[in-house]
Amino acid sequence: MSHDHSLNPETMPHEPEKATLEGKNKFIGFWFFLGGETVLFASLFGTYLALRNATAGGPSAEELFGLDLVFIMTILLLTSSLTSVYAIYHMKNNDFGKMCLWFIITIILGFGFLGSEIYEFTHYIHNEGFTFTSSAFGSAFYTLVGFHGGHVLFGLCWFIALLLRNAKRGLNLYNAPKFYVVSLYWHFIDVVWVFIFTVVYLMGKVV
């Protein structure tokens, strides 16, 4: 009894991510997980909103934030969302090589984003003296944005692990759901960022 046959069919089905029961389970389960993540980030956003003026004499959002870098980061992440859509497009066309290519571009953009964020944080800490413990606002800011950053990092590791593992064996019905799910995760991270740049940075600048 070999699995290879059923997982590597002659023609790829239209939605390879949902072609097997395992795939369907992963697909639905991951969406549900994202529903939970929504509440997770809402709790962090709520905390941030409650504390965004609690500067305890330290620097405020208005004084700290510069929008140039944030804009660049936003574009990087939005674009990476598009590139991962491209990757899924090629997955559906059963073109493994192109899928990998677009995922690699996504990863590069993701690292660009992450690097900028690290640069931003170190800048605040060293140049502005704004740290995790300087005020309730500081704690809330680093926690919210840091949680997002952590998600980005996790997503990147996940992408890399998947690409390396499957580099030699190409696309099949066993790994298609995995690629699909990680790209869902990536879009979700982007969704969260849209709210971060709006609520944290832009609203922080509007006084």
Binding site: G36, A50, V85, D95, G170, F188, V199, L202
Partner: protein
């Protein structure tokens, strides 16, 4: 068929449909970039009084996110009924949480 380098086939009809979808996704992306530009522009340019800016940029964010969900994450496709239920459930709980924490903590 020629451009399909892989040994496995995908039928042409599906391929066309995928292409079409890609077109929508590109348009969506364009709109998202525009929304972002508008949001940043409004804040940097101080074009509106504060009372309007905040609701406007929030609205832009919500529309952008809807694009992500419906186009990039395919929520508009069939087979996404349960995912929609759970995402909307999550959004519901999220709204309650955010409202509570931003309204009911300081008095």
């Amino acid at each position: 068929m020629t451009e399909n380098t892989s040994s496995k086939k995908v039928d042409t009809f599906q391929k066309r449909k995928n292409k079409e979808e890609m077109k929508y996704q590109l348009i969506t992306f364009g709109l998202m970039i525009i929304f972002t530009l508008v949001a940043f522009g409004l804040v940097v340019g101080e074009l509106m009084p504060k009372m309007f800016v905040i609701p406007t940029i929030l609205l832009l964010a919500i529309v952008q996110v809807a694009f992500q969900f419906y186009y990039f994450m395919h929520m508009k496709h069939s087979g996404h009924e349960m995912p929609s239920v759970m995402i909307y459930g999550g959004i519901w709980a999220a709204i309650l949480t955010v409202t509570a924490l931003s309204v009911l903590t300081w008095w």
